[in-house]
């Protein structure tokens, strides 16, 4: 009886094992298939931008193969990089982004620490509230905000509209809630005993934050920094609405307002400007990703 069962079970199990590995092979093939499609899908626009940026206006409008450069030229690059206007946009973007990232981190890291560790009345509600704030799109907010700044200007005489620094007030409304939320998540993953040990060792709340939490949650901090930088670098609606003079513009808005003249599109320079504009976030990703290592808490507690 027993032998019969074993004889029966033997081949069945073997066949099943074989089919499992075949399943795996197919799963891999499908993953590669879709990954390749996605890669093509996402890489085509930048490649097309790059090709176009190397063409002269004449070649762009000529009826040749748009995927090939017959007479490569750097004239778009030299034109933009020697234009004070474009450098001004770049400079504005850089200043705004650096300030916004700094402001965001200075607000959201302590806020996340307080919300995740100091149990106080209403802290849970406040944490949810922070997240809900993030869900309100800026398309709903820009008109009331514009009105608010106009009223403030009328009452106090402090003119904020059409000044680049108005963006330092506007962008954090987008970045602070999200970064706070990310950091709450990272701080929550730090074992409670770690701050208890620090408190018993004599650390104040502030020292616990700066000496323990920030170093331990560094990957999260970097993720939040990257997010805040990307949001402020790519933000379009607020600068479009709130800044108009060319010396106050940031890059995304600057490119479209100065390089599109009526119905004349200076495609070569637009593409070049967009590529150059995409470079800083790429460089920052590449640089910070090295530090973006998970598992920094390894060894703190029993793993």
């Amino acid at each position: 009886m027993t032998t019969v069962t074993i004889d029966k079970a033997g081949p069945t199990r073997k066949a099943k094992y074989g089919s499992m590995s075949r399943d795996r092979a197919w799963a891999l093939r499908w993953s590669y298939f879709f990954l390749v499609i996605f890669a093509i899908f996402f890489l085509t626009p930048p490649i097309y931008m790059f090709i176009t940026s190397l063409k002269s206006s004449a070649e762009i409008s000529a009826a040749t193969n748009p995927w090939w450069v017959f007479h490569p030229t750097l004239e778009n690059y030299t034109a933009l990089l020697t234009s004070n206007q474009f450098l001004r946009f770049f400079w504005n973007s850089a200043i705004v982004s650096i300030f916004v990232v700094t402001i965001t981190m200075l607000i959201s890291v302590p806020a996340a620490f307080a919300l995740s560790r100091m149990r106080f009345w209403g802290s849970a509600t406040l944490a949810t509230g922070v997240f809900l704030t993030y869900l309100i799109p800026e398309t709903l907010l820009f008109i009331p905000l514009f009105k608010m700044f106009a009223v403030i200007g009328d009452w106090t005489g402090i003119q904020l509209i059409n000044r680049w620094y108005v963006l330092l007030i506007l962008y954090p409304t987008l970045t602070v809630p999200f970064c706070t939320w990310i950091m709450i998540g990272y701080f929550a993953s730090i074992p409670k005993e770690l701050d208890e040990a620090a408190i018993i060792d004599g650390a104040s709340w502030f020292q616990t934050l700066t000496r323990i939490f920030i170093p331990v949650a560094l990957p999260g901090l970097i993720a939040a920094t990257i997010f805040a930088f990307t949001v402020s670098w790519a933000q379009f609606l607020y600068p479009l609405v709130f800044t108009t003079s060319t010396d106050q513009l940031v890059m995304p808005v600057g490119i479209i307002t100065t390089l599109i003249k009526g119905d004349v599109f200076n495609w070569g320079q637009i593409m070049t400007g967009a590529l150059l504009g995409a470079a800083p976030p790429l460089i920052i990703y590449a640089f910070l990703m090295d530090y973006y290592i998970a598992g920094l808490t390894a060894g703190a507690t029993k793993g």
Binding site: P191, E193, L194, E196, A197, A198, I199, I200, D201, G202, A203, S204, Q207, R211, I212, P215, V216, L218, L296, T297, A298, G299, A300, T301, K302
Partner: protein, 366 residues
């Protein structure tokens, strides 16, 4: 170095009382272990001493000063956590010196203290490593080192060995005892492991349901338990409890277990239990080592009887035997050469000089 005193300490969470009025005096240099099943309030008590939990009622004193509202950092205590809680981004030396660096001790003194603690714990060659490069036992040593370098008034240990494997646990237990013998700092140690409690403690505090069941030296708890809970919690295998009542047969006090089985009590015990009502429902408490194979010339107070063994467990130095008496399973310890076998008849002897008599309803040891 200081004594620790708890006066009517209560911890309430909303409507649950985790700790229900604890009184405890811990002398200077003493090693006290709080032991009990999970949820008995032992960790909460320790955390209240540390200042990590507020106390709902009562007073906690360290070195004679009431510290109810003193923050943890000003209580001059050090704590070792179950999961070590080492700072993962700091080296072993930095972990150990963190507290001293916060207090801005001179560099030379920090170094000498860290070196001394590292030598004491045998982790000198590890001081430049990060916690993730250490094994569990090494991490626990570092956690202890972090406590030692602070030279605090009180050490608090919260189940420090629970995460280690059995062999390492025994080794670290000895290490902890050695460290205490050297530094003599007042220590409060929480564990759910009664063996750890017995081996480490000067005095053991047995807790259950947020109350102290009994405080005593390991031997007192083992030989003179106050309640059924303590009697069953301390000792492995646990004490046997057999339903019984007292009966006078031919003018002598007997303990009757079954219709056919009744033992005369030795004179000392008879005198002690004379006043117990004969109708009272009682439990006979006998440790396994007091149920052994019958010998040809029994000592006074040792009574023999026949039974059939259910299961035998040879342990090498002894054999554990299990049999059924009036529906309850009873465990005994016999000589490995006593020829005990599963399902075989066997003649056993109970040592009534070491018996305990408990009230079945209240669980109090009479």
């Amino acid at each position: 170095m200081a004594d620790v005193t708890l006066r009517k300490v209560v911890k309430r969470y909303d409507d649950v009382e985790a700790v229900r009025g604890i009184d405890l005096d811990i002398a200077d240099h003493e090693f006290v272990v709080l032991v009990g099943p999970s949820g008995c309030g032992k960790s909460t008590t320790l955390r209240m001493i540390a200042g990590l939990e507020d106390i709902s009622d009562g007073d906690i004193m360290i070195g004679g000063d009431v510290v109810n509202d003193v923050p943890p950092k000003d209580r001059d205590i050090a704590m070792v956590f179950q999961n070590y809680a080492l700072y993962p981004h700091m080296t072993v030396a930095e972990n150990m010196s963190f507290g001293l660096r916060l207090k801005r001790y001179p560099k030379a003194e920090i170094k000498s203290r860290v070196d001394e603690a590292a030598r004491m714990l045998d982790i000198v060659e590890l001081v430049d490593r990060k916690p993730k490069q250490l094994s569990g036992g090494q991490r626990q040593r570092v956690a202890m080192g972090r406590a030692i370098v602070r030279n605090p008034k009180v050490f608090l240990f919260d189940e420090p060995l629970s995460n280690l494997d059995a062999k390492l646990r025994v080794q670290m237990r000895i290490e902890i005892k050695k460290v205490h013998q050297k530094v003599r700092t007042t220590t409060v140690y929480v564990t759910h492991d009664q063996v750890e409690a017995m081996t480490l403690a000067d005095r053991v505090v047995v807790m259950n349901h947020g109350r102290i069941e009994q405080i005593g030296t390991p031997n007192e708890l083992y030989h003179k338990p106050a309640t059924k809970f303590v009697a069953s919690f301390i000792g492995s295998p646990a004490m046997n409890f057999i339903p019984c009542r007292l009966e006078d047969i031919a003018g002598k006090l007997h303990v009757r277990l079954t219709d056919r089985l009744a033992f005369p009590l030795p004179p000392a015990r008879a005198a002690r239990y004379q006043g117990v009502p004969r109708t009272e429902k009682l439990l006979l408490g006998l440790r396994p080592e007091h149920i052994t194979e019958a010998k040809p010339h029994p000592a006074p107070g040792v009574e023999a009887f026949d039974t059939v063994l259910d299961v035998t467990e040879p342990m090498g130095m002894e054999t554990l035997i299990y049999f059924t008496l009036e529906g309850s399973q009873v465990c005994g310890r016999v000589n490995p050469n006593a020829d005990a076998h599963d399902g075989a008849p066997f003649r056993l002897a109970v040592d009534l000089n070491n018996m305990h008599l408990l009230n079945e309803v209240t669980g109090v040891v009479l």
